[in-house]
Symmetry: C2
Subunit: 336 residues, 2 copies
């Protein structure tokens, strides 16, 4: 009933388990005849060695942790897809965690992954931490994991932690610029919390474009949300109801775009007739349907690939200096 072990194979082959282990790992010369005999038995018995025992013995594992805030968001789904492709190609194993953008769940997930002794960590931190203390705690836990960490999409400044990010600064800059070139001056941005570097980058790109065009930014157009559709919807509702409302809007992820659209639609309005929109991230379904949403394109699958590649590299060369990867973005305009 119980699982067959290396000892069972050794017994049946009349050798010691060391020899079987050598066959399994191709680690030392084994007499071809013996090797053959052992391999035959292994196949006949469908013996698969226990990764648990191997990991314990080797004091390592081939397991990678993957922690993101919203696994059912296509953005992270695409990232995950990219990650898994490389994972498969390298015979690694992926443990997935979802945090709902809730730092408590982040910490719980990291704890669990430490317990699992993962070899590396791919991580998009929750948006909701704020205090310096929480940040410190996070940094400490990451350090304690004794394992390379690669951040995805969202940056936190921590020593020794690499990351793959999008160039949201220029994404926002170019999107804003495109709107300005089409005559817009009252441009709103539905951003995430400015506590976070990424959101500040986006705001900076947006501000820089305004400044370069000599447009005075209106603080009322500078919205802070949390990446969720519901909140973007609420913010948009207010925004659209303003008497001096903007003529163009930029969002900060796919959910925010949808939230904006929902609010807009409720008013019986639409883009670009009543207001212009440039969304952050393509929404595949809309594109296929021929629904022409302008967007800042970011290749999430590519980000996933680059992140896991960086992680594997860091696993291979632990000492090597960390260098972030910044991925380009492209502004795709149908009609403003």
């Amino acid at each position: 009933m119980t699982n067959i072990t290396i000892q069972d194979i050794a017994n049946e082959a009349g050798v010691s388990k060391a020899t079987v282990s050598r066959v399994l790992n191709n680690s030392q010369a084994v007499d071809p005849i013996t090797r053959n005999r052992i391999q035959t038995i292994i196949e006949k018995r469908h013996f698969v060695p226990s990764a648990t025992a191997r990991n314990l013995s080797k004091r390592t594992s081939d397991t990678i942790g993957f922690v993101v805030p919203e696994i059912d968001n296509p953005f992270f789904g695409d990232i995950l897809r990219g990650v898994i492709e490389i994972i498969d190609a390298n015979n690694l194993t992926l443990i997935c965690c979802n945090t709902d953008d809730n730092m408590d769940k982040d910490l719980k997930a990291l704890e669990m992954l430490k317990e699992q002794r993962v070899r590396g960590l791919l991580y998009t931190p929750a948006i909701d931490y704020s205090t310096e203390e929480e940040k410190k705690r996070l940094g400490k836990i990451l350090k304690e994991m004794q394992t390379p960490v690669v951040l995805m999409d969202r940056r936190i400044s921590l020593a020794d932690v690499g990351g793959v990010y999008f160039d949201d600064y220029h994404g926002m800059y170019n999107a804003t610029k495109a709107l300005i070139e089409h005559g817009h001056t009252k441009i709103a941005i539905i951003n995430a919390s400015l506590d976070r570097v990424l959101a500040r980058d986006r705001r900076d790109g947006y501000m820089a474009a305004l400044k370069d065009a000599g447009i005075e930014p209106d603080p009322r157009y500078n919205l802070e949300g949390n990446y969720r559709m519901t909140q973007a919807y609420e913010l948009s509702k207010k925004l659209l109801a303003m008497e001096d409302r903007p003529t163009a809007v930029i969002t900060c992820n796919n959910r925010t775009s949808l939230g904006f659209y929902k609010a807009l639609r409720e008013r019986g309005e639409k883009t670009p007739r009543d207001i212009a929109l440039i969304g952050l991230d393509r929404i595949e379904e809309l594109d296929v349907m021929g629904y022409e949403m302008n967007y800042i394109e970011r290749d999430a699958k590519e980000l996933g690939k680059r992140a896991i590649e960086m992680l594997i590299n860091r696993m291979a060369f632990p000492g090597k200096a960390v260098r972030d990867v910044i991925l380009d973005t492209h502004v795709k305009i149908y009609k403003i």
Copy 2:
């Protein structure tokens, strides 16, 4: 540099590692004073015991395998989300695999999960196996895993394997019926491969509705695909170009719906003006945008929850008879 172990804690506390283990597991009475001392040290040192060692010693694990064909498809993303919620609540660990609907990758993933000695398996088999031999091989591997298996969404008849499925028969029946009631008689179905039970169920539901209405089915309207957008697109293109083409179409998943729309749009046509459509599965983005696609609703997240719940139950009561769960579907019609 290396990880701190139970022995380190024991040394520092001046006790044996057995006692530390007892504290960790609350498994036996330990003098409150000793317990306190040990716990303090554990916290001070941020000791997290190795799951690997524990698993080896206990000859079990808290790890669940999750194998699906297309992790970046929102349908599976939703399932995954449901699964993870329950996983978290039960302090389990989830290993994710993607198969691209390719049975070779299925087998490779299952092998890997066996190696990891997972406690249970959530599995949506690839669509592309066909021969009896392959099916046998799959059954054998699943049996060899010595672990409960719960199938998700796609059924294969194997002894001792439970599953959670949607009632696609009635979904299709009701969708077809709705179309008929709106006057359609030439109704096409873009299905998956009829090698599979699920696709046959759907065809049966569709056929039954036609029969109940006294409509002779047209074999040319009975399309077989592979769940992918590209193929649905090709099939739809041909279908729409037929001279005696159907007046209504039913698809078999979200990708198929999009493929159909793409083909339709290329012809400058749209629903429901030129042809009626009922898609299988809601497409959230379209719904939010107010794009009124009729659909057969299936709650994928709920399926995920039910599947992992069933799995946990089977882990707890290994002997218990297997009983499948069939989830209802609802036809949502905007305009036909």
